[in-house]
């Protein structure tokens, strides 16, 4: 089934990753900033691929293709349409101002940035708790999804538990020695692999099905409803609108994405990423959408969760065994690039925001603790992924919504000097509680006015921040100056100073 060429490709791929680990072991990383933020030295290509590879999960290849199988071409706009613009826009809206504060004050995580802006340990702690609460189940679900896909595509040759071990162990090989540098090197390598192989896969499947036009003709004849968004029950306009508040705007709140922005070397690097990011996002989801829709006529009759297997099934039925290995490599690359960054960001949060509150630790020890915690979190995630407890899965189901409703506090903190710690705390807690009441069915569905719960929760976060901030004392002037003094100098200061590198222009 799996030929020599295929095994060679797989061995080459794994060897490169192990090579990164061996090289990383020679690095002398002394501080947590070196280890967790790559010394804030990520250039344009590094940060582009780091953000892209972390952004793309098993859902892109597996879940999204399955959704396109059911909903048709409209799945493209529904899932990723708004993200194509708003995700890179949030790199500007939230990312750039956070990056400025990170450079100035040495902030390395969201609890540090927003705890610092509001001068509040409680705000920092709430950020820490909420980010861990949503990221950990999301990490476990990523491992579950990746392992299931790996097992499916290997036709059961690699059992589920072994798939999980392979995914986690390979991730740790380069992450433990090299920290963020290790994950970024592999992001560049793996991101390139899954973009290139995904496009190759698209052309190979198209050829096997008679060509692009022939498949589309077949869809026109057999499943014409796939071409019209208005005919898809999954694409109700109210859900389409609500979904704009889940998938797209949550990305900047993910700690693994936010931290990478703080690790960018310069403003110019971040600008270049923001401009060209839509192309990569549209390309990978475009491939996934087409494969899913084509699958609806090539492999008809799937329903429910079985539709998630459409890409492995297309490979199985229509392509040669060597493609199986390429498919495995893509699944591994997609899954691991998000899992390693999630693992590292969770460890980062605990190491720099929680551990120093519990015991005295010097910078050198922070790196050691970070490495130790990486192993502990990886082992814990593995055992939870094996047990698959229902509670974890249900939290992960609304983790994206949970991340989204944190965004109003982040924007308020960076743009509204009147926002205070009381407003921030209330706006972090209240929408999170409401989301739970809605998703766990404690509050009746009519209370969301027909929208997905995330939309009313998002509006509630804005209203709570504004109302509570106005009803409580304004932040002291020196506290506002600490944040907004910097922004005033950057955004409204004199232009074209020597060495500024060209104000308001990208070159």
């Amino acid at each position: 089934m799996i030929n020599t060429l295929g095994i060679g490709i797989l061995l080459l791929y794994v060897s490169v990753l192990i090579g990164f680990g061996i090289y990383g072991a020679k690095l002398n990383l002394k501080t947590s900033e070196d280890y967790f933020l790559a010394g804030r030295g990520l250039g344009s290509i590094a940060i582009f691929m780091a953000l892209f590879a972390s952004n793309i999960t098993a859902f892109t290849i597996i879940g999204h293709a399955g959704f396109a199988y059911q909903a048709g071409y409209g799945a493209y706009g529904y899932v990723i349409g708004w993200s194509i613009f708003i995700t890179p826009f949030t790199y500007y809206l939230v990312g750039y101002r956070s990056w400025l504060l990170g450079k100035r004050y040495g902030y390395a995580t969201q609890p540090q940035v927003f705890g610092g802006i509001f001068n509040s340990k409680l705000v920092a702690m709430l950020f820490l708790i909420l980010l861990l609460y949503y990221t950990l189940p999301y990490l476990v679900v990523s491992i579950i999804g990746g392992s299931l896909a790996f097992t499916t595509i290997s036709d059961g040759a690699v059992p589920y538990w072994l798939s999980a071990v392979i995914i986690i162990v390979i991730s740790l090989i380069y992450t433990i020695p090299a920290g963020m540098r290790g994950t970024v090197w592999t992001d560049i390598f793996q991101g390139t692999i899954f973009l290139v192989v995904a496009v190759m896969l698209l052309f190979a499947v198209a050829q096997a099905l008679g060509g692009f036009s022939a498949i589309t003709e077949r869809i026109l004849q057999d499943r014409p409803e796939m071409l019209q968004r208005a005919l898809s029950p999954q694409l109700e306009p109210i859900n389409w609108f609500s979904f704009s508040f889940i998938n797209s705007i949550a990305v900047i709140v993910f700690p693994q994405m936010y931290t990478r922005i703080l690790a960018t070397r310069s403003s110019r690097n971040l600008k270049q990423v923001s401009i060209y990011y839509p192309l990569a996002l549209a390309a990978i989801f475009g491939v996934s959408t087409l494969l899913g829709v084509w699958g609806s006529v090539a492999v008809p009759g799937l329903a429910g969760v079985d539709t998630d297997n459409i890409v492995p099934l297309l490979i199985h039925r229509f392509l040669s065994p060597a493609w199986m290995i390429l498919g495995l490599v893509v699944i591994l690359a997609v899954v691991k690039s998000s899992i390693d960054s999630q693992l590292l960001s969770v460890t980062h949060l605990v190491t720099v925001d929680l551990l120093p509150r519990l015991r005295r630790i010097n910078p050198r020890q922070l790196v050691l603790w970070g490495r130790l915690l990486l192993v502990i979190f990886a082992a814990a995630a593995y055992y939870i992924a094996l047990a698959r407890p229902a509670a974890i899965l249900s939290i992960a189901a609304f983790a994206f919504s949970g991340f989204s409703v944190i965004l109003p506090v982040m924007i308020g903190a960076l743009y509204w000097p009147r926002a205070n710690k009381y407003g921030a705390c209330a706006a972090l807690v209240l929408p999170a509680v409401m989301l739970h009441l809605w998703y766990l069915g404690i509050l009746p569905r009519w209370t969301t006015f027909g929208f997905m719960p995330v939309f009313p929760a998002f509006i509630l976060a804005i209203l709570t921040l504004v109302a509570v901030s106005y009803l409580t004392p304004a932040p002291p002037p020196e506290q506002r100056e600490k944040t907004f003094g910097i922004f005033d100098k950057v955004f409204t200061g004199p232009v074209n100073e020597p060495g500024s590198g060209g104000q308001h222009k990208i070159s």
Binding site: A38, G39, R40, G41, G43, A46, Y73, G74, G77, I80, G81, W82, F85, I86, P88, F89, Y92, Y96, L100, K103, R104, R181, F212, I215, T216, L227, Q228, R229, A230, P237, W240, F241, S244, R265, S266, S267, K271, I275, Y276, Y277, P278, L279, A282, G286, I486, K489, V490, F491, T492, G493, P494, E497, P498, G499, S500, G501, G502, Q503, H504, I506
Partner: protein, 85 residues
């Protein structure tokens, strides 16, 4: 142009992009517009065009309202040289 006006223009761009994404009245065209390159129906090709528009919109936003930090602020905020990756 003051920064407030620039920021307002950025807000306008975001609103236009949001309205374009939620342009449900365009769904009427899904069945009427011919396939692009023989395989992309309007529901798909619309977002190919939207991607190009997103790149242009981001470029405009960068030019309008994303100044690099002035030299003195860079000195203030960067107390050490970043290491190369």
């Amino acid at each position: 142009m003051s920064f407030r006006i620039r920021l307002a223009l950025v807000g306008l761009i975001v609103m236009v992009m949001f309205i374009l994404h939620n342009s449900f009245w365009l769904w009427e065209f899904d069945a009427r517009i011919p396939l692009l390159f023989g395989f992309m129906p309007f529901a798909f090709s619309f977002y190919v065009g939207y991607t190009v528009l997103a790149v242009l919109a981001m470029r405009l936003i960068v030019n309008l309202a994303w100044p690099d930090p002035p030299a003195d602020v860079i000195k203030l905020i960067s107390d050490k040289e970043p290491s190369e990756l």
